[in-house]
């Protein structure tokens, strides 16, 4: 049956969920556990995954770490990378993408190099997170170097509104900070050093007082 989806009104919005409208390609072979003999895996990727496997009584437990290694290497969990990881883990690639797609930090589609997670949960929203997110979208939304995602509570409501920039927590942020921050990333510099959570003292006055 051939329907041109664009001509059908109810499909016009497209799928809000990537994948829902995907059909299997009947030309492809079934995706079974990759054969080590025919699946080349880069040595460092293999070493990284095997080191993780060694931590657990059951090697499959390294699946998430393996996907992260793939993402670090290829920028996202690309099919090629997933097959390589599956080969090391001796699992089906389907197993890996099923796991990977469950987690917000793993990109199952190509994504920008710089990961910017803007918290839009309650505490940050109370402090202006939506304006902040809008500012990020405005300044970096179309830039393929960046992936700007609205994220759930990142566990840093004390610096609301905040964002995680390539893993570095920064806040409180003002929409006006955004162009500076992006420029710093483009220049390969640390984002807003003075606003990094890593450098912040505790709010509890007792904690400060009783040091000794």
């Amino acid at each position: 049956m051939t329907i041109d989806p664009s001509s059908v009104a109810r499909y016009a919005g497209g799928s809000r969920i990537p994948g829902w409208d995907d059909s299997a390609d009947l030309e492809k072979d079934p995706a079974v556990v990759p054969d080590p003999a025919t699946t080349p895996v880069p040595d460092d990727l293999r070493a990284e995954i095997e080191a993780e496997m060694a931590k657990y009584p059951e090697p499959e437990a390294a699946t998430i770490a393996a996907l992260k290694a793939v993402q670090r290497r290829y920028g996202w969990c690309s099919p090629e990378g997933v097959v390589q990881a599956a080969c090391v883990l001796q699992l089906t690639p389907g197993d890996l993408v099923g796991v990977g797609s469950f987690y917000d930090m793993l990109n199952m589609r190509p994504a920008g190099r710089n990961a910017i997670y803007v918290c839009t949960n309650i505490s940050c929203s109370l402090c202006g997170a939506h304006d902040l997110f809008a500012a990020f979208q405005e300044h970096a939304g179309d830039d393929h170097d960046f992936q700007v995602k609205s994220f759930e509570c990142l566990g840093a409501c004390d610096i609301a509104p905040m964002a995680s920039v390539n893993g570095q927590y920064v806040g409180p942020l003002d929409p006006a900070d955004v162009p500076t921050l992006l420029q710093q990333l483009r220049d390969g510099q640390e984002p807003l050093p003075e606003k990094q959570l890593a450098r912040r003292p505790s709010a509890d006055p007792n904690a400060r007082g009783s040091a000794s």
Binding site: D21, A24, D25, L26, P30, V82, P93, G94
Partner: protein
Amino acid sequence: MPRPVVDLVTFTVDGREVTAPQNSMLVDAALQYGDIEIPVFCYERKIGPPVGACRMCLVEVEGVPKLQAGCATAVKDGMVVHTNTPRVKEAQEAVLEFLLINHPLDCPVCDKGGECPLQDKSFGWGGGISRFVEPKRHFEKPLALSPLIAIDRERCILCYRCVRFSQEVSEDYQLVLHDRGAHTFVGTFDGHPYVAPFSGNIIELCPVGALTSQAYRFRARPWDVEGGGSICTHCPTQCNVTFTVRDERVLRVMGRDNEAVDDGWLCDRGRFAYQAIHVDDRITQPLLRDGGALVPVTWERALEAAAAGLKRAGSDVGAVVGGATTNEEGHLLARLLREGLGSENIDSRPAGGPSTGVRTALAAPALQATIPDLEFAHAVLVLDTEPVDDAPVIDLRIRKGVRRGAVKLAVATSRPSSLDPNAEAVARFAPGAGEAFVAALDAALGGTGDLAELADRAGADADAVQAVADVLTGRDDARTHDDAPATRDVVILWGERLTAGERADHAGRNLLNVARHLDLGASRDGAGLLEIPAGGNNRGLREVGVLPAEGALDTAGIAAAAAEGRLPALYLLHTDPLLDLPDRSTWLRALDKASTVIAHAAFLTEGISEHATVVFPAESHAEKEGTMVNLDGRAQRLRRAIGRQGESRAEWQVLTDLAGRIGLARGPGQALRRAAGLPRGAWGM
């Protein structure tokens, strides 16, 4: 491991006292022993442990504050359960309302309509109204999941049955869930099709119309069809099936769960091969070779020609019988040959086998294991067979036993097996060296002979042989030491090819030695030998005597003799030697030389179209009446689901007719009764 002994408990459900096995799940116990249905979606006993996902089965258990999932609550003595209180009703209506929120309700155009659990549950337990006014999700549909299966993601209610089947039953792990929460969807890796030996089962498991058979889509409605219960004859497991029939056509094959046979599953061959029943190139009338070509003739002419040919050949006739033959047909042909023509040259084994003594010893009742034993044994040895090819559904049973952590598996084959990853020990031997391997295994178990030398002869690694032996004896199995049973239940699943060829007797004796060392014959249940015969009814055919008498020609002998021109007539009952049997060149010559080649066939395959002189149309398994014996000795009945095609006649009738024409006068009824008397009174099942 011996089957667990189950105690009975008594509990109350909706005021009714019910006695059921302890630890059975409430939904099963209530339905099976109390006739009270608690609705379920995600739960399906044959998939495995409950997951408690859909929440359709919530019930009230006295003394427990929250509603409990009946699918995941084991019954206990004195438990008091309510399934129809206002609280339970409200929860059931709520779950159905939730499930229908995003369900398209396109029942009028859905294949599942009329036999849909979601429809049934909505009707039986739903609130009848929906308060959901938001737009439903809509996506492109249907999409291909594989050449056999279409997926409609709008309809999916995320019960996870299909992915659990793929991951936890067939263990192919190709079908997975993607994404999370309400975005979750069923799919595969990067658009690869879901192609696996048992994929079709997910169609039956799906409680909605999300997974449909490409071949059955839009062919019929449940009220258009009739179901015909029979068995599948494509392998010696003989899974129990139902043919879905509309207007005398088989439109679908579904499982008819039998725990003792198929455990509720079918392989894709058994499920989809029905498509060959209704095709144009099937042979539906008698054919006779006339001036080089096969031409349609009347039954009278064909039967006459066949009878004449047989009479001409007299006792110089050989018959080869294929696995799709029923006990009755096999028996009739054997009588026709033996009593009518005085020939003992009849065989149902593709490559011979051990002599009568060894064969009888191997088939000794005390030594036989059953299919369910595979699930409960301490250890299973897969020997010279690839279950997924030779008896597919058996593969699932082995996986099940291993998955439950109860069975230790050893695999000894000449080629890599799909069960290798599940096995505790794997040994490889050279093709055809099964006999030598078993000798080595016997040595490793403490029998005679030098392990290193014998392993070498088998082309196997001595350490691997020893490892297999250790799995069987339980040397490294902590459980054996713990409860220290005097005996260990070991099942050896072996392929008929182990005892094929010239050294068949050696192989058989070696296997008997191994069995003796493992004490498999000690008249106990749960342990023993289990043979996978070469074809669908090959065990039954042997049991009704479709075998050459001592000194007569076996299959290979028939080929050789015919090739030398010593057998002018050949009878091929459901077999094309050029396709099904070894040694093609001999068979080519044999078929050339024989002046009369009578075949029962459904298709004009090479051997038939080029060489047969008389062809009788063969019935498909959906058209046949009769009995067969499956691999563990269960006599099962084939029932006709559809009428015969074209001018076809019942093949037992053809054989009886032919017998009459060569002067063997006895009524068919008598023959049938006699055949039927053989395996456990099969007739009338």
